[in-house]
Amino acid sequence: MAELCAVVGIGQTKHTAARKDVSMPGLVREAAERALADAELTWKDIDAVVLGKAPDMFEGVMMPELFLHDALGGAYKPVLRVHTAGSVGGSTGIVAASLVQAGIHDRVLTVAFEKQSESNAMWALTISMPFAMAVVAGAGGYFAPLIRGYIRRAGAPEDTGIRVALKDRKNALKNPYAHVQLPDVTFEQIASSPMLWDPVRYLETCPSSDGACAMVLASERAAAKTPRRPAWVLATEMRSEPTYFAGRDQVIPRASLDNAKSLYAKAGIKDPRREIDVAEIYVPFSWFEPMWLEGMLFAPPNEGWKMVYEGATEIGGDLPVNPSGGVLSSNPIGASGLLRFAEAALQVRGQAGEHQVDGARKALGHAYGGGSQYFSTWIVSSEKP
């Protein structure tokens, strides 16, 4: 029943610690203009705008889409604002896709951003509310115990995280938009970087970035008129579960496993490791690569770390993960999920440049958020379904 939806334009900014040269409208417009140029479309061609970002306190503007959409050609058009915690970039892409799949619009511009230099994300995450546990150490302090839980459960070698970080930091050197680029990065350098939240070291964690990502999504009819090869949306899925309750597995949450099963069923995928050519997975702390390899059913329980050890997730391995350098290299939080979705699309369009995975035909984009409780994913393909 659903109409087909394709990615026909992709744009992103060079991610960096502080974009002092542009305002928020300037930042989002830069990514959007690049997506329009890629699709060879103009503002006039866009039917609706879907904007996503993480908590408004990251910039200190309440519902900032109200003041931003004008810079995105949204005047006198429908504008939606999505917020689903860290998974928001992914959810934003999914909501935009659904407007096309529902047959409501032919061309939708979707944009996600964070301009962390405008405010202080650590502060925004640590406001203490009555009767609630304060997370005074930001996201790293929240996730470190979950990583400890994974290491113990899986019997994973302690250097697994360092290996992931080394791979992603080397991949980032092939991505001109990546924020953190360390030209001569070594295993020893990562291993000897300061321990921030045991077992997460400084170089195993994501940066705070200013950045934006944009995509133009189009119906089959509209996609036929665009110049470059589209990335076809094969399937999308979202799952959420509560933050706290007794017996909840916070390491590999059921919402992740349910999301993966439903996504693959929708895409007709039976053996994800064999059938998916490249995955962009939300890995803000190195250890989340082996954890989500299990959470996305690429590896059996407790064996995700083995794929890291075998080099399976390197460019050239059988399932390259985060050839872009991933969230570890660029983290404009609200955009990080949409970047995963966009990088997956770049791969199947053959547009990924130096970090292109040869012959990529099916790619996964993945995002998660909250206390490992929100998941949004999509699979894109070079072939029209």
């Binding site: 200190g60 900032p64 959810s91 959420s240 579960e241 933050t243």
Partner: protein
């Protein structure tokens, strides 16, 4: 397009201050009631979408707690907009249109009593040029009202009559906050709150929540005696900058009404979410409502205005009239300073 209908609706009483209950505690009975009235099992509702904003709670990720109100276990397919619940309803309606869901639960909630709402809303403005001046929401609406008065688009008397009408209608609404019999002449004798707005021109500040279940074709027909079919649904945003907009009309409401086909048939009932009397008049005009239309039988937002739920409540109230036998209703929701963004939903029996 698939046929989609509102099959149930529930709301919390709007009150100036909920001193004892947090958002989840306000939401839980409302969600339960909407679910029970829908006649659908929990597992038959295959999508959930909510609307709220972090800045009312003063906490990042404030919406996450909402998951505890719906019981997100086993894990649910779910989304959230940082917008009024009316837009969450729009996202859920789109989801059903894609065919990947057949029934959806939608909710919206707001507890502005924890802060100073008009001042908090100043944070919606351009953070570089406007917010540092901290123009509160009532003052911005007063600027708009002044333009409307001087342009001859509204009169203070017509504004007071809107308040009299809506507060009078609200007497029949157990969930409304400001209600009773008033006289325009006496209201006009009151002092200005922010010139030219008097207290009766402004919606109250309300804590509240609402939940709704919508379902596609056969599911709706199975569980609901008289489903309220959504036959038109559209929303449009204007640029925010007050200097580039004609503030004496609501162009985005006009466009949304046109897209939703609001004027393609006789409108029996209209529910309007505008939080000021002059804005209610602008929206009535933009919707092209005739004199025979029952406007705001619930009392509208001027009688109860829980931010982030007020728009969804208008759609719920309109749906309730359809459930009770009305033929065709139009509901409106708004967001942003001076009617910046507007949504129109057409419901039919």
């Amino acid at each position: 397009m698939r046929d989609v209908a509102v099959v149930s609706f529930a709301q919390a009483p709007s009150v100036r201050r909920e001193p004892d209950r947090n958002e989840v505690e306000i939401l839980m009975p409302v969600v339960r009631e909407a679910r029970e009235r829908s006649g659908l099992r929990k597992d038959e509702i295959d999508f959930i979408c909510s609307g709220s904003t972090d800045y009312l709670a003063g906490q990042s990720f404030a919406f996450v707690a909402g998951l505890d109100a719906v019981g997100a276990w086993p894990p649910i397919a779910e989304s959230h907009v940082e917008m009024d619940g009316a837009w969450a309803l729009y996202e859920a309606w789109v989801k059903i249109q894609t065919g990947s869901a057949n029934a959806a639960l939608v909710y919206g909630f707001g507890k502005p009593s924890m802060g100073d709402l008009p001042e908090v809303l100043a944070l919606q403005l351009d953070p570089y040029l406007l917010t540092p001046l901290w123009p509160d929401a009532v003052s911005l609406a007063a600027l708009q009202a002044r333009l409307c008065l001087e342009g001859g688009v509204v009169s203070e008397r017509a504004m007071a009559e809107i308040a009299v009408r809506d507060r009078g209608n609200a007497k029949a609404n157990a969930f409304a906050q400001v209600k009773g019999d008033f006289e325009a002449a006496k209201l006009l004798a009151e002092p200005y709150l922010v010139d030219p707005l008097r207290k009766h021109d402004c919606a109250p500040i309300s804590d509240g929540a609402a939940a709704m279940v919508i379902a596609a074709g056969d599911v709706a027909r199975r569980v609901c005696r008289r489903p309220a079919w959504i036959t038109g649904f559209a929303h449009v945003a204007e640029p925010q900058d007050l200097g580039v907009r004609d503030l004496t009309r609501s162009r985005s409401t006009e466009l949304a009404a046109e897209k939703a086909g609001a004027l393609k048939g006789r409108v029996e009932v209209a529910e309007i979410a505008a939080p000021f009397t002059h804005q209610t008049l602008l929206v009535e005009r933009a919707l092209g409502l005739g004199r025979d239309v029952a406007v705001n039988p619930s009392g509208g937002a001027l009688a109860a205005n829980p931010v982030m739920a007020a728009g969804l409540i208008r759609i719920g109230e309109a749906a309730r009239r359809i459930h009770d036998g009305a033929a065709r209703a139009v509901a409106h929701a708004t967001s942003g300073p001076c009617l910046q963004q507007n949504l129109v939903c057409v419901l039919e029996g």
